[in-house]
Symmetry: D2
Subunit: 375 residues, 4 copies
Amino acid sequence: MRKLRLGMVGGGQGAFIGGVHRIAARLDGRWDLVAGALSSDPERARASAAELGLPPDRSYGDFAEMARAEAARADGIDAVAIVTPNHMHAAPAVAFLDAGIHVICDKPLAATRADAEAIAAAVARSGRQFILTHNYTAYPLMRQAREMIAQGELGEIRVVQVEYAQDWLTEETSNKQADWRTDPARSGAGGCVGDIGTHAFNLACFVTGLEPEALLADLGTFVPGRRVDDNVQVLLRFRGGARGMLWASQVAVGNENALRLRVYGSKGGLEWAQETPNAMSFTRFGAPRQTLTRGGAGATPAGQTLLRVPPGHPEGYLEGFATLYAEAADLIGGLADGTPPAGTQLPGIGDGLAGMRFIGACIDSSRANGVWTDL
Amino acid sequence: MRKLRLGMVGGGQGAFIGGVHRIAARLDGRWDLVAGALSSDPERARASAAELGLPPDRSYGDFAEMARAEAARADGIDAVAIVTPNHMHAAPAVAFLDAGIHVICDKPLAATRADAEAIAAAVARSGRQFILTHNYTAYPLMRQAREMIAQGELGEIRVVQVEYAQDWLTEETSNKQADWRTDPARSGAGGCVGDIGTHAFNLACFVTGLEPEALLADLGTFVPGRRVDDNVQVLLRFRGGARGMLWASQVAVGNENALRLRVYGSKGGLEWAQETPNAMSFTRFGAPRQTLTRGGAGATPAGQTLLRVPPGHPEGYLEGFATLYAEAADLIGGLADGTPPAGTQLPGIGDGLAGMRFIGACIDSSRANGVWTDL
Amino acid sequence: MRKLRLGMVGGGQGAFIGGVHRIAARLDGRWDLVAGALSSDPERARASAAELGLPPDRSYGDFAEMARAEAARADGIDAVAIVTPNHMHAAPAVAFLDAGIHVICDKPLAATRADAEAIAAAVARSGRQFILTHNYTAYPLMRQAREMIAQGELGEIRVVQVEYAQDWLTEETSNKQADWRTDPARSGAGGCVGDIGTHAFNLACFVTGLEPEALLADLGTFVPGRRVDDNVQVLLRFRGGARGMLWASQVAVGNENALRLRVYGSKGGLEWAQETPNAMSFTRFGAPRQTLTRGGAGATPAGQTLLRVPPGHPEGYLEGFATLYAEAADLIGGLADGTPPAGTQLPGIGDGLAGMRFIGACIDSSRANGVWTDL
Amino acid sequence: MRKLRLGMVGGGQGAFIGGVHRIAARLDGRWDLVAGALSSDPERARASAAELGLPPDRSYGDFAEMARAEAARADGIDAVAIVTPNHMHAAPAVAFLDAGIHVICDKPLAATRADAEAIAAAVARSGRQFILTHNYTAYPLMRQAREMIAQGELGEIRVVQVEYAQDWLTEETSNKQADWRTDPARSGAGGCVGDIGTHAFNLACFVTGLEPEALLADLGTFVPGRRVDDNVQVLLRFRGGARGMLWASQVAVGNENALRLRVYGSKGGLEWAQETPNAMSFTRFGAPRQTLTRGGAGATPAGQTLLRVPPGHPEGYLEGFATLYAEAADLIGGLADGTPPAGTQLPGIGDGLAGMRFIGACIDSSRANGVWTDL
C-alpha cells in the first residue's frame, strides 16, 4: 500500500488537537505529513513547519494558497486535516473540497449553521470524502457495541444514558484551549454542548443505531462572566420509542474526561466508560454481568477493528484516533486505486450536520425554557 | 437504656420489607417486637405471629383493634412500624397517631395525595413522632456527605446527578412484590417514580440540603401491559440555581439496586454508589481524587454515625436501616424519659410530603409532555 | 423455633469483638444473651452487664463460677461465646465444655499449642459442639465459591493466592486492641500471622477444599520494638500439587481490612475481596469474566445461604458473622430437640487446630530462615 | 531534530513484538525504519520488507550482512532493534555493537548466561548504547512512582508485592508466539519466569530503587508436557530489609496481562495495575487514599514524561513503548550531535544482566526445593 500524503490546516505551536491528529496519522504508518498552513500567524506557521520537518515550499501562509498549490502538484496531498477552532472549519474545508482534495475535519462541524451548510454543499458538489473526527466511535469496544446492538443482542433498545463530564472549566480559565472554546465568535453559540455534548450525542447515535427524534434541553452557565454554556442537561426521544438522557459538563469537579455510555434494551444492557476503554460491561437479562475486553473472549468481528496489541495491553485515545486515519487511508487510497472498501464506519458530513442540529436544538429548547424540539 | 416496645402492621409471611424492619429493629438491641397485625389475612396473621414468637394476645386481627388495645395497655408499644403496601399506610398511621402511638412508616408516604394529607394532619394533631424509613440517608457516608456540603467543602452546589437503576421489572413479572408495585390501586399512580424515584429524590435533597424548586419529567412504560411507569427521567431545578438530573428505572438490565448520587460544587465534587456504600469519592478542585471510607481517614463527626465495626469491615443496607431504628429509639425513648435528643436527622412527615409532591409533579409534568412544574 | 440462651465470657466495655458477637447473635433473632462474665475486672464486668441489661444474678465474677452456675440452672445457657484475648480462650472453653455447655469461640483457637490441645481434648471428651468464628467463611459468595469448586467448575485447582492486608499497626500503637495483639504473652508467639494470617489460611482451605501439605514462611517485624511479626509472606503447597502464596500484613499503608482470595484451576478462576463482599469475579477459560453477586444471577444453592435482602442491597461483615450464629442455633437447637441438621459448614475444632499448626509452622519455618515445613 | 534511522532484526510477518516496536518507533515521529533482516526465512524476509516499504537493497538476508553493510553506509542506521526470540538476541547484538551501531533489544536479555555475558562484553568494548525494552517502566505513573519513592514520600520501603498474571497458556497451546516461549532451546531454561517474571522483577526494582539481595523460588509447571515453568512464586529480600513477593503465572484464568505492583513504606503506600495504567493509588498513612492520574493533579515532573494527551485521555501500552523510542532518540541523536542528555531512565545492559541473574536464581532456588539464593 502506498503511503498517502497529508496536509494540515491549523495545529501550529501551542495547539492541542493538531498534535493528536499528527500522531494518529503516523501511528499506523499510512500517512506522511507533507504540507501545512499551520497557523494564521506567519511566523508561528514557519516555525511550526520547521519543527515538523515540512519542506519550506510546502509550508503555506494561508489555506487558500495551499489548496491551490497542492491541487496543482503531481505529488499533491491526498487529504487535508483541518484542526482549527470551529469558526475556521468552513472556509478551508470548502476551499480544499472545491480543489478536489479530501478533507478530514475536527468536530464539531462548524460554528454556525450557515458554515455547516456551506461545507455540506461543497461535499455534495465536489464528490470528495469528508471525514469528521468523532474519534470515540473508533474504540474497538464501541464498534463492538454497535454491532451487538445491530444484531439484536440487547433486544429492542429502551433507554440510553450518555454523559460527558469534565472539570477543567470549573473556574474562570484563560489559556489557548479555553479561550476559543468559551468565545462564541470562535466556538459558536454552544460551549460545552458543542465541544463535548456533540461527542456524547454522536456516540449514543453511532452505537445504538437509533434515530434521534426530539430533545428537550436545559443549558446552564455556572462560572460568572462565561459567555457560553458549561453544563448541559438534555432529555432525548428516539424514533421507535427509546428515551435518553444526556449530560455534559465542564464543571463536574473530579472528572477529567469522563465520557460514559449506557444502553438498555429488552434483553440486555451495555455500559462503557471512555477513561477505561478496554473493558465494557454486558449483561443478558437474568444472567451474570460480563466484562468484555478489547479483543478478548467474546469479541465480535467489529470489536476486532485494528487490534494492534493483544487484550490486556491497553490501547487508548490515540489508537482510537489512529483508527480513523487508518480507515481514511483505506478509503482514500482505495478510491485513488479504484479499489474502495465495501463500506466504512467513518463519521462524515451526515454526522456533522446531525451534530449541528443537536447544538441548535439544545440552544433553542433551552432558550424556550425547555420545550421538546425536533431534530 | 430501657428497650422499647415495637408493634408492626403488615410484614407477614412472604413480605420483604417487614423482615428488613424487624432485623433493623433488632440489630442494635434497642427494640423488642411485642405486638402485630401482620396480615389482613387472619390465618396468615396468626401464623406469622407465631413464627415471630409474639404473644398470642398481642397478635391482632386488624390494626384498628391493635391501636386501641395497645394504647390501653400499661406496657403498650412505644411505636408501631407500618410496612404495608402504599395504599395501606394512611389508615393505620392515622389510627396509631390518634391513639398516641409514634409511627415508623415505610416509604413512599402514601398512594394518594389525600392519604398523605390525612397522615400529615394526624401527625400535627397528635404531636407524635412520624418517621419515614428513607433508609439510604442513614448510611454513614451519606451523613458525612451532607455534613461536608453544609460546611462548604464543595463550595456552592451547581450540579446534582442522581439515579436509581434496577432491572427486576425488565419483563412482565408476577410475584407478591411486583404485583402491588405495578398496581396503581395499591402503589399509587406512580410506579417506578414512587417506589425508587422518591428514594433518589429524597437522598439528593438530604445530602445537598438544597430546596427543590421545579422539575420536568418524562415517564415511560416499556413493558407492554404495565399500568405504571417503569422508567423515569427528570430535570431538576433547585432554589439558588443548582441543576439536577434524576433517572430511575426498573428495566435497566444489569443493575440490581444501583442508587448513585453525584454532587458537584464550585470547589469540589462527591460521588457515591449504594451498592458499594463503604466508600465515597471526593475531589477538591485541582487536587487528586480521594476515596473516603466509612469511618476511615478523614471521617467527619456525622460520618461516624453509629459505626459498629471499623473501616474495612463492610456495613450494608441492614446497618443503615438499623441506624434509623436506633435513632428512633433515642428519640422516642428520650421523649418518654424527658430527655429528647437535641436534634435528629431522621426523615419525617416533611420528607414524606415532599416525596408526594415529587411523584405528583413528575406525573403532571410528564402527562403535559414535559413542562416545568413547581414543587 | 425456641430462642436459644447465650452466655458470654469477655466482651466488656472497650472490647471490639464482643460487641460484634452480640450483634451477630441478635441479628437473626435466634439468641438471647442472658448471662456473662464480661470482664476479669469485677467493676467493669458489673457495669458492662448492666449496660447490656443482663440480670444481676447472671453477671458472674469469673467464668468458672459462671460455668458451674449455668450448668446447674434449668434455664441455663445453651452456649457460651468466648471473646477474650487468645491466651484466655482455653481455660473457659474447657470449663464450659466440661460443664456440658456448647462453646462458640473467637479465633485463633489459642495462644499456645498446649492450650489448643487442652481445648481439643475437652471437645472430644465432652461431646459438645465447638464453633470457631472464622466469620469470613460465612459470606454467601464464599459458600458459593466452595460449592463451585467442589462441583468442578474451576477444574483441578492449581494456584491459590490469598492475602490479608491492613495498615493499622504501621506505626507504634497503643490501645486496648493493639496492646494484647502485639504482646506474645496474650496473643501467642504469632502476631499478624495469628491475628489475620489464620483467617486467610482458613478461608483458602475452606473455599478450595484443598488439604495443605507444607509451607515456607518469611515473617518480618517492621516497627521497631514490636515483639511479634507484622508482615507475613508464605509459600504454600497443597496435596495434589496446587501451589499458593499467602501474604498478611498490618503495615500495608492504604489497606483497611483487605482480605482477598484468588483461586485458579485448569478450567476457571475466581477472585473475591472482603471489602466488597457482594461481588465475586468468575471466569471460565476462554469466556468473558463474569461478576457473580450475592444471591444474584447464577447463584448456587450454597450462595443463597441466609440471604436477608435481595441482590444489590449490600450485606456485610456483621451479616456474615450473624450467619454463624444462626447456623449455630440450627445446630445446637436441633441437637437439643433431637433434630440436628444433616450437616454444617460451621468452622470447628479441626479448623482451630489447623490454624495452630499453620501459626507454628510459619514461626518454625521462618526461624529456620525459610525451609519447607509440614502441616 | 533530525529523524533517526532505524534497522530491525526479526519482526517479519506473523511476529508480535516486532510490530509493537515499529509502532513505538513511529508514534512520536523520531525514527524512520530504513533497513531490516526481518526473518531468517529469506522469502518471508523479502515479503515482510516489501510490506513495510523498505528499500530492497536494505532488506538483508541475515543480520551479519546487515551490520556490515549498514556500518559502511554514510546514511547507515543509527540503531538496530532486535526483536527475535531470546536465543537469537546475542549474535546480532554483538554483531551490531561491534559494527559501532547502537542496539535496542527486546527482553529478556538472552536465553543463556553465556549469551548475556557476550552481549555485556560487546557493550563494554564498543562503547555503544544498549537499550532493553522493559517498556512497563516507561508508563508515566511508574516514572512518577519511582520519583515519589526516591523523594521519600513513602518513607522507608518495607514491603513490595509484584505480580504478573496471564492465562493464555492455561491449556496446551501451539502458535508462533507460544511455541518459542515454551521451548527451552529458544526461550532459555525459564518459561514464564523469563517471559513475564523478568518484567515484574524489573519493574519492582525500577520503581522502588531497592537493590535485590536474595530470593527463594517455587517454580511450577501445570500443563502436562510443558517443558518450562508456567507459574512462578518467589520470596524476595532487598538490601536494607524490605521484603517482597513476586508471582508470575501464565495459567491464571481470567487474567489477560495483569501486571500489578504494590509498594508499602513506613509513611505511605502505592498500588498500580498495568491494565488500567492511567491511575495509581497513593495513600499517606492516616490520610484518605488518593487516585493519582497520568498527568493529573499532583503529577510530579517525572510523571509528566512525554504526556501526549491530557489526563482522562487514556494512553496505553504503545505510548509507554514509544516513550522508550523517543528517549532512545534523545540519547542516540544527542550523542551523535555531541549534546547527549544529562541522564536517562532507559533500561540497559545492567537491567538485562539483573534479569538474567533473577531467572538463574529462580531456577536454582526452585531446583534445590526452595533455598535462599543470592542475586
